[in-house]
Amino acid sequence: MDTQKLANHIGCVVLLAAALGWPAFAQQPIYKAPAAADWSALSKLPDFSGVWERGGGGGRGAGARGRSGGPSFTPRYEAMRAAAASAPQPEDNATANCLPPGMPGIMGQPYPMEFLLTPGKVTIVIEAYTQVRHIYTDGRSLPGEPDPKFFGTSIGRWEGDTLVAETVGFNDHVQHARGVPHGEKMKIVERFRLTDPDTMSIETTITDPGVLTMPYTTTASLRRHRDWTISEYVCEENNRNSVDQSGKAAIDLTLPGTNKK
């Protein structure tokens, strides 16, 4: 390919990109360099610092209650749930293969998490599966067409002493129940606040127009351990569990020192 042909080629691609509205050149939110005032403003916020352990049970669903306290589905999705429930059940889920649970399951793991407040952002360091959530509090908007992700895309704002996080854009690993996918417009709103000096309450509300008949809300609490640190959790380090495509679970008991599959 000579230079002229190459130039034409590139020109075509650029024109095509422009015609299709490819987001390659779309304006991305800029993370502004914090000034001293931005750092000092953090001291006015509630103290979320440190390592928090999930406690206080799993959180009861409130608001929209379907069968057994779960979310209430529209007829089409309730039919999916019922069909999946009566089909042969897989013995395990993909976490056995070390995929992390998506939202909001990742927030309910039996491992601690740490909250980091920096100017324009709240970062949640999650020990389970070594995951991180990024909640932008710099005033940016949620993306109109977010890429699907395990944890979605999050923005947050402070309403008094409550951090309100909104999250959209979930991948297919996120399901309402086994066999019940989420819709395009599913949104999760989390309200984080301190209820006493070392207790944090998280109220989680899921809305999904066309899928849920009404918002589904659960609450959970976290307990702070000032003497804990987040530890390493590399799931692939020595994972002997697995689940295959048919849903069959297995454990590899290959003796140590020999070749583990």
Partner: protein, 134 residues
């Protein structure tokens, strides 16, 4: 069909978490949870690793040799916050393990508790007196 819906938004994880916290990583499908066996052997190796620790013991067989059994425990992260360390068990220690056996009959299962030769009881809740060390 997708083999497994990761976490049905909360439900499964929390159900499992409520039963046995650090096992949320996987189900109990491979274990015979209706049965509990006990076996005594010598610690061959301890894998102080995520997502689970593995305790391997050599158990004398009737052929004059020994068979190695593997027992899955909680994670080192979980256990370290409850009094265990990577040297709670040493190679060569005699231990009697209570476990949920493998459904497929292989040698091993899910560690429930262990008793050392000195009578110290080790559970997944904590080492020593069995109470979580918090």
């Amino acid at each position: 069909m997708r083999p497994s819906a990761p976490l049905p938004l909360l439900a499964l994880a929390l159900l499992v978490a409520a039963v046995m916290p650090a096992a949320a990583h996987h189900s109990f499908a491979a274990f015979d949870m209706a049965n509990q066996k006990t076996i005594t052997g010598a610690v061959k190796q301890v894998d102080w690793t995520n997502p689970h620790i593995w305790i391997w013991i050599d158990v004398a067989n009737d052929k004059g040799g020994s068979d190695t059994y593997g027992f899955e425990g909680m994670s080192p992260n979980y256990l370290a916050r409850r009094g265990w360390t990577r040297t709670t068990l040493h190679v060569g220690d005699t231990i009697t393990v209570s476990y949920r056996p493998m459904k497929d009959g292989k040698k091993g299962g899910m560690f429930v508790s262990g008793t050392t030769a000195a009578g110290k009881v080790l559970t997944m809740g904590g080492a020593g007196d069995g109470e979580p060390a918090r």
